[in-house]
Protein backbone atom coordinates (compact mmCIF):
# COMPACT_ATOMS: atom_id res chain seq x y z
CA UNK A 1 0.00 0.00 0.00
CA UNK A 2 0.97 3.64 -0.28
CA UNK A 3 2.39 5.46 2.71
CA UNK A 4 0.52 5.75 6.01
CA UNK A 5 0.35 9.51 6.31
CA UNK A 6 0.34 12.00 9.12
CA UNK A 7 -3.30 12.77 8.30
CA UNK A 8 -4.18 9.09 8.62
CA UNK A 9 -2.40 8.93 11.99
CA UNK A 10 -4.34 11.97 13.09
CA UNK A 11 -7.57 10.26 12.04
CA UNK A 12 -6.90 7.00 13.87
CA UNK A 13 -5.85 8.85 17.02
CA UNK A 14 -9.03 10.89 16.86
CA UNK A 15 -11.06 7.72 16.40
CA UNK A 16 -9.34 6.20 19.43
CA UNK A 17 -9.46 9.14 21.84
CA UNK A 18 -11.29 12.25 20.80
CA UNK A 19 -11.09 15.26 23.06
CA UNK A 20 -10.37 18.96 22.68
CA UNK A 21 -8.11 18.97 25.70
CA UNK A 22 -5.51 16.69 24.08
CA UNK A 23 -2.45 17.96 22.23
CA UNK A 24 -2.52 18.40 18.45
CA UNK A 25 -0.74 15.84 16.31
CA UNK A 26 1.00 17.62 13.43
CA UNK A 27 4.31 18.46 11.77
CA UNK A 28 5.41 20.52 14.77
CA UNK A 29 4.74 17.75 17.29
CA UNK A 30 6.29 14.85 15.35
CA UNK A 31 9.05 14.56 17.94
CA UNK A 32 6.96 15.31 21.03
CA UNK A 33 6.18 12.30 23.19
CA UNK A 34 2.54 11.22 23.19
CA UNK A 35 2.55 11.31 26.99
CA UNK A 36 3.45 15.02 26.86
CA UNK A 37 0.58 15.61 24.44
CA UNK A 38 -1.80 14.08 26.99
CA UNK A 39 -2.05 10.55 25.60
CA UNK A 40 -1.42 7.81 28.16
CA UNK A 41 -0.37 4.22 27.55
CA UNK A 42 -3.98 3.05 27.28
CA UNK A 43 -4.67 5.69 24.65
CA UNK A 44 -1.78 4.30 22.58
CA UNK A 45 -3.14 0.77 22.93
CA UNK A 46 -6.50 2.01 21.69
CA UNK A 47 -4.74 3.63 18.71
CA UNK A 48 -3.23 0.21 17.92
CA UNK A 49 -6.72 -1.36 18.04
CA UNK A 50 -8.12 1.20 15.64
CA UNK A 51 -5.28 0.68 13.16
CA UNK A 52 -5.78 -3.07 13.32
CA UNK A 53 -9.53 -2.78 12.83
CA UNK A 54 -9.45 -0.23 10.03
CA UNK A 55 -6.39 -1.42 8.11
CA UNK A 56 -6.36 -5.11 8.93
CA UNK A 57 -2.71 -4.76 9.99
CA UNK A 58 -1.60 -7.01 12.85
CA UNK A 59 0.34 -5.21 15.55
CA UNK A 60 1.63 -6.61 18.85
CA UNK A 61 0.82 -4.71 22.10
CA UNK A 62 4.57 -4.08 22.50
CA UNK A 63 4.32 -1.89 19.40
CA UNK A 64 3.58 1.05 21.67
CA UNK A 65 7.20 0.90 22.85
CA UNK A 66 8.27 1.79 19.31
CA UNK A 67 5.69 4.56 19.05
CA UNK A 68 6.58 7.07 21.76
CA UNK A 69 6.16 10.08 19.44
CA UNK A 70 3.94 10.68 16.38
CA UNK A 71 7.06 10.56 14.20
CA UNK A 72 8.10 7.18 15.62
CA UNK A 73 4.55 5.93 15.18
CA UNK A 74 4.51 6.87 11.48
CA UNK A 75 7.89 5.23 10.87
CA UNK A 76 6.93 2.07 12.79
CA UNK A 77 3.52 1.65 11.16
CA UNK A 78 4.94 2.16 7.66
CA UNK A 79 7.65 -0.37 8.42
CA UNK A 80 5.01 -2.89 9.49
CA UNK A 81 2.98 -2.27 6.34
CA UNK A 82 6.09 -2.92 4.22
CA UNK A 83 6.87 -6.09 6.17
CA UNK A 84 3.27 -7.30 5.74
CA UNK A 85 3.42 -6.68 1.98
CA UNK A 86 6.79 -8.37 1.70
CA UNK A 87 5.54 -11.54 3.35
CA UNK A 88 2.61 -11.82 0.98
Amino acid sequence: MSEFTLQELRNVVKAAVNADDLGEIGEETLDTEFIELGYDSLALLEVLSVIQREYGLRLPDEATESMQTPGEALAYINERFKAAEGSR
Binding site: V17, N18, A19, D20, L42, A43, E46, S49, Q52, R53
Partner: protein, 401 residues
Amino acid sequence: MSAPEMVITGLGVVAPTGLDAEEHWSAVLSGKSGIGRITRFDPSGYPVVLGGEVPDFTAKERIPQRLVPQTDHWTHMALYGAEAALGDAGVDPAERSEYEMAVVTSSSSGGTEFGQNEMSGLYGKGPGWVGVYQSIAWFYAATTGQISIRNGMRGPCGVVCAEQAGGLDAIGQARRLLRDDVRMVVTGGTDASLCPYGLVAQMQTGLLSESEDTARAYLPFDADACGYVPGEGGAILIAERGEEAAERGAGYGAVLGYASGFEPPGRPSSLARTLRRALDDARVDPGDVDAVFADGMGDLRQDRIEADAIASVFGPGAVPVTAPKVLSGRLYGGGAPLDVATALLGIRDGVVPHTPGTTRPVDGIDLVRDQPRETGPRTVLVIARGYGGFNAALVLGALER
Protein backbone atom coordinates in the same frame (compact mmCIF):
# COMPACT_ATOMS: atom_id res chain seq x y z
CA MET B 1 -16.65 22.22 73.89
CA SER B 2 -13.92 20.50 71.89
CA ALA B 3 -14.23 20.27 68.12
CA PRO B 4 -15.81 17.09 66.76
CA GLU B 5 -13.56 14.45 65.29
CA MET B 6 -15.02 14.60 61.79
CA VAL B 7 -17.04 17.24 59.99
CA ILE B 8 -18.66 17.21 56.54
CA THR B 9 -17.56 20.48 54.94
CA GLY B 10 -18.66 20.08 51.32
CA LEU B 11 -21.61 18.59 49.45
CA GLY B 12 -21.58 17.64 45.78
CA VAL B 13 -25.04 16.40 44.90
CA VAL B 14 -25.73 14.78 41.52
CA ALA B 15 -29.19 13.31 41.83
CA PRO B 16 -32.52 12.87 40.08
CA THR B 17 -33.71 15.65 42.38
CA GLY B 18 -31.04 18.12 41.33
CA LEU B 19 -27.56 18.81 40.04
CA ASP B 20 -26.47 20.64 43.15
CA ALA B 21 -27.23 20.52 46.84
CA GLU B 22 -29.59 23.50 46.94
CA GLU B 23 -31.60 22.39 43.92
CA HIS B 24 -31.91 18.93 45.50
CA TRP B 25 -32.89 20.38 48.86
CA SER B 26 -35.63 22.58 47.44
CA ALA B 27 -37.00 19.59 45.46
CA VAL B 28 -37.05 17.56 48.69
CA LEU B 29 -38.87 20.28 50.63
CA SER B 30 -41.49 20.72 47.92
CA GLY B 31 -41.82 16.97 47.32
CA LYS B 32 -40.78 17.27 43.67
CA SER B 33 -40.00 13.81 42.34
CA GLY B 34 -37.19 12.93 39.95
CA ILE B 35 -38.78 9.62 39.03
CA GLY B 36 -40.07 9.00 35.54
CA ARG B 37 -40.05 6.56 32.67
CA ILE B 38 -36.49 5.43 31.91
CA THR B 39 -35.04 7.32 28.92
CA ARG B 40 -31.42 6.10 28.82
CA PHE B 41 -32.76 3.12 26.87
CA ASP B 42 -36.20 1.97 25.78
CA PRO B 43 -37.57 0.09 28.80
CA SER B 44 -40.66 -1.29 27.01
CA GLY B 45 -40.21 -5.01 27.01
CA TYR B 46 -38.78 -4.93 30.54
CA PRO B 47 -40.97 -5.40 33.60
CA VAL B 48 -39.39 -2.35 35.26
CA VAL B 49 -40.00 0.90 33.37
CA LEU B 50 -39.57 3.64 35.99
CA GLY B 51 -36.27 5.03 37.20
CA GLY B 52 -34.75 8.07 38.83
CA GLU B 53 -32.48 9.63 36.20
CA VAL B 54 -30.25 12.65 36.72
CA PRO B 55 -31.73 15.23 34.34
CA ASP B 56 -29.64 17.41 32.05
CA PHE B 57 -26.33 15.80 32.90
CA THR B 58 -24.11 16.04 29.82
CA ALA B 59 -20.72 14.69 30.80
CA LYS B 60 -18.68 16.55 28.18
CA GLU B 61 -19.89 19.87 29.55
CA ARG B 62 -19.19 18.90 33.16
CA ILE B 63 -15.88 17.02 33.28
CA PRO B 64 -12.58 17.07 31.34
CA GLN B 65 -13.40 15.93 27.82
CA ARG B 66 -10.73 13.28 27.54
CA LEU B 67 -12.17 11.43 30.56
CA VAL B 68 -15.62 11.07 28.99
CA PRO B 69 -14.85 8.10 26.69
CA GLN B 70 -12.49 6.58 29.27
CA THR B 71 -14.94 6.30 32.15
CA ASP B 72 -18.49 5.17 32.89
CA HIS B 73 -21.50 7.42 33.47
CA TRP B 74 -21.25 6.69 37.20
CA THR B 75 -17.69 8.03 37.27
CA HIS B 76 -18.68 11.08 35.20
CA MET B 77 -21.24 12.01 37.83
CA ALA B 78 -18.80 11.44 40.69
CA LEU B 79 -16.06 13.54 39.06
CA TYR B 80 -18.53 16.37 38.72
CA GLY B 81 -19.80 15.83 42.25
CA ALA B 82 -16.26 15.85 43.64
CA GLU B 83 -15.48 19.15 41.98
CA ALA B 84 -18.70 20.66 43.32
CA ALA B 85 -18.04 19.30 46.81
CA LEU B 86 -14.46 20.61 46.91
CA GLY B 87 -15.68 24.02 45.77
CA ASP B 88 -18.44 23.97 48.38
CA ALA B 89 -15.93 23.09 51.10
CA GLY B 90 -13.56 25.82 49.98
CA VAL B 91 -10.78 23.29 49.50
CA ASP B 92 -8.18 23.74 46.76
CA PRO B 93 -6.35 20.39 46.43
CA ALA B 94 -3.38 22.12 44.79
CA GLU B 95 -2.68 23.92 48.07
CA ARG B 96 -2.70 20.77 50.18
CA SER B 97 -0.18 18.08 50.86
CA GLU B 98 -0.97 15.28 48.41
CA TYR B 99 -0.48 12.45 50.92
CA GLU B 100 -2.88 14.02 53.43
CA MET B 101 -5.79 13.80 50.99
CA ALA B 102 -7.60 10.49 50.55
CA VAL B 103 -10.51 9.21 48.47
CA VAL B 104 -12.97 6.54 49.64
CA THR B 105 -16.17 6.07 47.64
CA SER B 106 -18.89 3.46 47.56
CA SER B 107 -19.95 1.63 44.43
CA SER B 108 -22.46 -1.11 43.98
CA SER B 109 -22.70 -1.59 40.23
CA GLY B 110 -19.36 -0.49 38.83
CA GLY B 111 -19.37 0.63 35.20
CA THR B 112 -22.22 -1.51 33.90
CA GLU B 113 -23.32 0.74 31.05
CA PHE B 114 -19.75 1.05 29.78
CA GLY B 115 -19.33 -2.70 30.12
CA GLN B 116 -22.53 -3.40 28.24
CA ASN B 117 -21.33 -1.33 25.27
CA GLU B 118 -18.01 -3.15 25.18
CA MET B 119 -19.69 -6.54 25.44
CA SER B 120 -21.90 -5.57 22.52
CA GLY B 121 -18.68 -4.95 20.57
CA LEU B 122 -17.19 -8.25 21.71
CA TYR B 123 -20.16 -10.45 20.85
CA GLY B 124 -21.33 -8.42 17.86
CA LYS B 125 -18.02 -7.80 16.09
CA GLY B 126 -15.14 -9.52 17.86
CA PRO B 127 -12.40 -9.07 20.46
CA GLY B 128 -10.67 -6.33 18.44
CA TRP B 129 -13.70 -4.14 19.03
CA VAL B 130 -13.43 -4.06 22.81
CA GLY B 131 -11.92 -0.71 23.77
CA VAL B 132 -8.89 -0.65 26.04
CA TYR B 133 -10.64 1.59 28.55
CA GLN B 134 -12.94 -1.29 29.48
CA SER B 135 -9.95 -2.51 31.51
CA ILE B 136 -10.32 0.39 33.93
CA ALA B 137 -13.81 1.82 33.39
CA TRP B 138 -15.95 -1.03 34.73
CA PHE B 139 -13.93 -1.53 37.87
CA TYR B 140 -15.53 -0.58 41.21
CA ALA B 141 -12.51 1.48 42.21
CA ALA B 142 -12.51 3.46 38.94
CA THR B 143 -14.35 6.41 40.45
CA THR B 144 -12.04 6.62 43.45
CA GLY B 145 -9.00 6.31 41.18
CA GLN B 146 -10.11 8.98 38.73
CA ILE B 147 -10.93 11.45 41.53
CA SER B 148 -7.54 10.71 43.09
CA ILE B 149 -5.62 11.18 39.83
CA ARG B 150 -7.48 14.29 38.77
CA ASN B 151 -6.97 16.07 42.09
CA GLY B 152 -3.54 14.74 42.99
CA MET B 153 -4.80 13.01 46.12
CA ARG B 154 -2.27 10.35 47.05
CA GLY B 155 -3.32 9.42 50.56
CA PRO B 156 -4.99 6.04 51.26
CA CYS B 157 -7.68 5.38 48.67
CA GLY B 158 -10.34 2.71 48.51
CA VAL B 159 -13.81 1.66 47.46
CA VAL B 160 -16.54 -0.04 49.49
CA CYS B 161 -18.96 -2.38 47.73
CA ALA B 162 -21.83 -3.14 50.10
CA GLU B 163 -24.83 -2.22 47.98
CA GLN B 164 -26.92 0.54 49.59
CA ALA B 165 -25.09 0.20 52.93
CA GLY B 166 -21.74 0.96 51.27
CA GLY B 167 -22.33 4.69 51.26
CA LEU B 168 -22.23 4.82 55.05
CA ASP B 169 -19.37 2.34 55.23
CA ALA B 170 -17.30 4.63 52.99
CA ILE B 171 -17.91 7.50 55.43
CA GLY B 172 -16.96 5.19 58.30
CA GLN B 173 -13.72 4.35 56.52
CA ALA B 174 -13.09 8.06 55.93
CA ARG B 175 -13.34 8.59 59.68
CA ARG B 176 -10.72 5.90 60.31
CA LEU B 177 -8.37 7.66 57.90
CA LEU B 178 -8.88 11.04 59.57
CA ARG B 179 -7.80 9.45 62.86
CA ASP B 180 -4.50 8.62 61.18
CA ASP B 181 -2.40 10.94 59.00
CA VAL B 182 -5.09 12.00 56.58
CA ARG B 183 -6.58 15.48 56.91
CA MET B 184 -9.23 15.46 54.21
CA VAL B 185 -11.22 12.69 52.54
CA VAL B 186 -13.35 12.82 49.42
CA THR B 187 -16.06 10.31 50.24
CA GLY B 188 -19.69 9.40 49.55
CA GLY B 189 -20.42 7.91 46.17
CA THR B 190 -22.56 7.57 43.10
CA ASP B 191 -23.98 4.68 41.13
CA ALA B 192 -25.54 4.41 37.70
CA SER B 193 -26.92 1.20 36.39
CA LEU B 194 -29.90 2.23 34.29
CA CYS B 195 -28.95 0.17 31.25
CA PRO B 196 -30.51 -3.15 30.18
CA TYR B 197 -27.64 -5.21 31.60
CA GLY B 198 -27.68 -3.31 34.89
CA LEU B 199 -31.43 -3.36 35.23
CA VAL B 200 -31.75 -7.09 34.54
CA ALA B 201 -29.06 -7.77 37.13
CA GLN B 202 -30.93 -5.67 39.70
CA MET B 203 -34.25 -7.36 38.93
CA GLN B 204 -32.93 -10.65 40.26
CA THR B 205 -33.45 -9.38 43.81
CA GLY B 206 -37.22 -9.33 43.26
CA LEU B 207 -37.33 -5.99 45.09
CA LEU B 208 -37.82 -3.61 42.13
CA SER B 209 -41.15 -1.93 41.58
CA GLU B 210 -42.97 -2.86 38.39
CA SER B 211 -45.50 -0.08 38.81
CA GLU B 212 -45.87 2.49 36.02
CA ASP B 213 -47.44 5.07 38.32
CA THR B 214 -44.68 7.51 39.31
CA ALA B 215 -46.61 8.62 42.42
CA ARG B 216 -47.32 5.10 43.72
CA ALA B 217 -44.34 3.06 42.51
CA TYR B 218 -42.13 3.47 45.59
CA LEU B 219 -44.00 3.67 48.90
CA PRO B 220 -41.74 2.67 51.78
CA PHE B 221 -43.44 1.86 55.10
CA ASP B 222 -46.83 1.81 53.34
CA ALA B 223 -49.35 -1.02 53.32
CA ASP B 224 -49.29 -0.68 49.51
CA ALA B 225 -45.50 -0.98 49.23
CA CYS B 226 -44.64 -2.76 45.97
CA GLY B 227 -40.88 -2.53 45.72
CA TYR B 228 -38.51 0.33 45.01
CA VAL B 229 -37.62 2.38 41.96
CA PRO B 230 -33.94 2.22 40.95
CA GLY B 231 -32.13 5.49 40.41
CA GLU B 232 -28.74 6.93 39.47
CA GLY B 233 -26.42 9.51 40.98
CA GLY B 234 -25.65 10.19 44.60
CA ALA B 235 -23.54 12.64 46.54
CA ILE B 236 -19.83 13.26 47.00
CA LEU B 237 -18.90 14.58 50.42
CA ILE B 238 -15.79 16.29 51.78
CA ALA B 239 -14.81 15.08 55.25
CA GLU B 240 -12.27 16.92 57.40
CA ARG B 241 -11.06 16.96 60.96
CA GLY B 242 -13.30 19.05 63.15
CA GLU B 243 -10.65 21.47 64.38
CA GLU B 244 -9.54 22.32 60.83
CA ALA B 245 -13.11 22.85 59.67
CA ALA B 246 -13.69 25.09 62.68
CA GLU B 247 -10.66 27.24 61.80
CA ARG B 248 -12.27 28.04 58.45
CA GLY B 249 -15.77 28.24 59.91
CA ALA B 250 -16.74 25.51 57.48
CA GLY B 251 -19.04 22.55 57.90
CA TYR B 252 -22.61 21.33 57.68
CA GLY B 253 -22.44 18.97 60.62
CA ALA B 254 -20.38 16.42 62.47
CA VAL B 255 -20.20 12.67 62.05
CA LEU B 256 -20.69 11.60 65.66
CA GLY B 257 -20.99 7.85 65.33
CA TYR B 258 -20.94 4.94 62.93
CA ALA B 259 -21.53 1.21 63.04
CA SER B 260 -22.04 -1.54 60.51
CA GLY B 261 -23.46 -5.03 60.71
CA PHE B 262 -24.53 -7.97 58.67
CA GLU B 263 -27.79 -9.88 58.58
CA PRO B 264 -27.31 -13.30 57.04
CA PRO B 265 -30.37 -14.05 54.91
CA GLY B 266 -32.89 -16.15 56.85
CA ARG B 267 -31.45 -15.23 60.22
CA PRO B 268 -32.85 -12.71 62.73
CA SER B 269 -32.02 -9.15 61.77
CA SER B 270 -29.02 -7.47 63.38
CA LEU B 271 -30.30 -4.01 62.44
CA ALA B 272 -31.41 -2.92 65.93
CA ARG B 273 -28.01 -3.86 67.28
CA THR B 274 -26.28 -1.84 64.55
CA LEU B 275 -28.41 1.20 65.41
CA ARG B 276 -27.56 0.88 69.12
CA ARG B 277 -23.87 0.47 68.36
CA ALA B 278 -23.89 3.61 66.22
CA LEU B 279 -25.59 5.57 69.04
CA ASP B 280 -23.12 4.17 71.60
CA ASP B 281 -20.24 5.11 69.33
CA ALA B 282 -21.65 8.64 69.16
CA ARG B 283 -22.31 8.68 72.95
CA VAL B 284 -25.87 9.74 72.15
CA ASP B 285 -28.96 8.46 73.96
CA PRO B 286 -31.90 7.37 71.80
CA GLY B 287 -33.94 10.11 73.43
CA ASP B 288 -31.56 12.74 72.06
CA VAL B 289 -32.09 11.74 68.43
CA ASP B 290 -34.39 14.20 66.64
CA ALA B 291 -34.99 12.30 63.40
CA VAL B 292 -34.23 9.03 61.64
CA PHE B 293 -33.53 8.90 57.91
CA ALA B 294 -34.65 5.35 57.22
CA ASP B 295 -33.46 3.00 54.52
CA GLY B 296 -37.03 2.31 53.38
CA MET B 297 -36.65 -0.54 50.94
CA GLY B 298 -40.29 -0.39 49.88
CA ASP B 299 -40.79 -4.08 50.58
CA LEU B 300 -43.45 -5.02 53.14
CA ARG B 301 -41.30 -7.56 54.93
CA GLN B 302 -38.07 -5.54 54.89
CA ASP B 303 -39.87 -2.34 55.93
CA ARG B 304 -41.43 -4.24 58.84
CA ILE B 305 -37.98 -5.41 59.97
CA GLU B 306 -36.65 -1.84 59.79
CA ALA B 307 -39.68 -0.32 61.56
CA ASP B 308 -39.38 -2.94 64.33
CA ALA B 309 -35.68 -2.19 64.75
CA ILE B 310 -36.33 1.55 65.01
CA ALA B 311 -39.21 1.00 67.46
CA SER B 312 -37.13 -1.33 69.61
CA VAL B 313 -34.30 1.19 69.92
CA PHE B 314 -36.33 4.40 70.31
CA GLY B 315 -39.71 3.15 71.52
CA PRO B 316 -42.83 2.91 69.34
CA GLY B 317 -43.52 6.18 67.54
CA ALA B 318 -40.96 7.98 69.70
CA VAL B 319 -38.83 9.52 66.93
CA PRO B 320 -39.79 11.08 63.59
CA VAL B 321 -38.83 8.77 60.71
CA THR B 322 -38.49 9.83 57.10
CA ALA B 323 -37.40 8.48 53.71
CA PRO B 324 -37.15 11.34 51.20
CA LYS B 325 -35.34 8.96 48.85
CA VAL B 326 -38.77 8.17 47.36
CA LEU B 327 -38.10 11.25 45.20
CA SER B 328 -34.90 9.89 43.66
CA GLY B 329 -35.33 6.13 43.90
CA ARG B 330 -32.72 3.96 45.52
CA LEU B 331 -29.26 4.96 44.34
CA TYR B 332 -27.31 1.99 45.76
CA GLY B 333 -23.75 3.18 46.43
CA GLY B 334 -24.93 6.77 46.01
CA GLY B 335 -28.07 6.48 48.11
CA ALA B 336 -26.83 6.81 51.67
CA PRO B 337 -24.44 9.71 50.85
CA LEU B 338 -27.42 11.55 49.35
CA ASP B 339 -29.40 10.82 52.53
CA VAL B 340 -26.49 12.19 54.57
CA ALA B 341 -26.46 15.35 52.44
CA THR B 342 -30.23 15.72 52.85
CA ALA B 343 -30.01 15.18 56.61
CA LEU B 344 -27.22 17.78 56.94
CA LEU B 345 -29.26 20.33 54.99
CA GLY B 346 -32.15 19.51 57.32
CA ILE B 347 -29.95 20.17 60.36
CA ARG B 348 -28.77 23.44 58.77
CA ASP B 349 -32.30 24.67 58.12
CA GLY B 350 -34.00 23.12 61.14
CA VAL B 351 -36.27 20.88 59.07
CA VAL B 352 -37.12 17.18 58.90
CA PRO B 353 -38.23 16.56 55.29
CA HIS B 354 -41.23 14.36 54.63
CA THR B 355 -41.83 11.11 52.76
CA PRO B 356 -44.20 12.00 49.92
CA GLY B 357 -46.68 9.41 48.75
CA THR B 358 -47.07 7.15 51.73
CA THR B 359 -50.71 7.22 52.88
CA ARG B 360 -51.16 4.03 54.94
CA PRO B 361 -48.01 3.83 57.08
CA VAL B 362 -47.07 0.71 59.01
CA ASP B 363 -47.56 0.93 62.76
CA GLY B 364 -44.79 1.35 65.30
CA ILE B 365 -43.09 4.38 63.73
CA ASP B 366 -43.92 8.08 63.41
CA LEU B 367 -43.43 8.53 59.66
CA VAL B 368 -43.12 12.17 58.60
CA ARG B 369 -45.78 12.48 55.91
CA ASP B 370 -47.48 15.17 53.82
CA GLN B 371 -45.12 18.03 54.65
CA PRO B 372 -41.75 18.79 56.27
CA ARG B 373 -41.63 19.38 60.01
CA GLU B 374 -39.79 22.45 61.22
CA THR B 375 -38.64 20.95 64.50
CA GLY B 376 -35.03 22.11 64.50
CA PRO B 377 -33.31 18.69 64.45
CA ARG B 378 -29.77 18.71 65.87
CA THR B 379 -28.99 15.00 66.05
CA VAL B 380 -29.99 12.65 63.24
CA LEU B 381 -29.55 8.93 62.60
CA VAL B 382 -29.15 7.71 59.01
CA ILE B 383 -29.80 4.03 58.24
CA ALA B 384 -28.71 2.12 55.14
CA ARG B 385 -29.34 -1.51 54.27
CA GLY B 386 -27.87 -3.35 51.35
CA TYR B 387 -29.13 -6.35 49.46
CA GLY B 388 -27.43 -9.48 50.73
CA GLY B 389 -27.53 -8.45 54.37
CA PHE B 390 -25.28 -5.41 54.78
CA ASN B 391 -26.46 -2.74 57.18
CA ALA B 392 -24.93 0.44 58.55
CA ALA B 393 -25.92 3.45 60.61
CA LEU B 394 -24.42 6.92 60.97
CA VAL B 395 -25.12 9.57 63.60
CA LEU B 396 -24.89 13.20 62.47
CA GLY B 397 -24.89 16.21 64.76
CA ALA B 398 -25.20 19.98 64.48
CA LEU B 399 -21.99 21.99 64.95
CA GLU B 400 -21.59 24.20 68.01
CA ARG B 401 -21.24 27.72 66.74
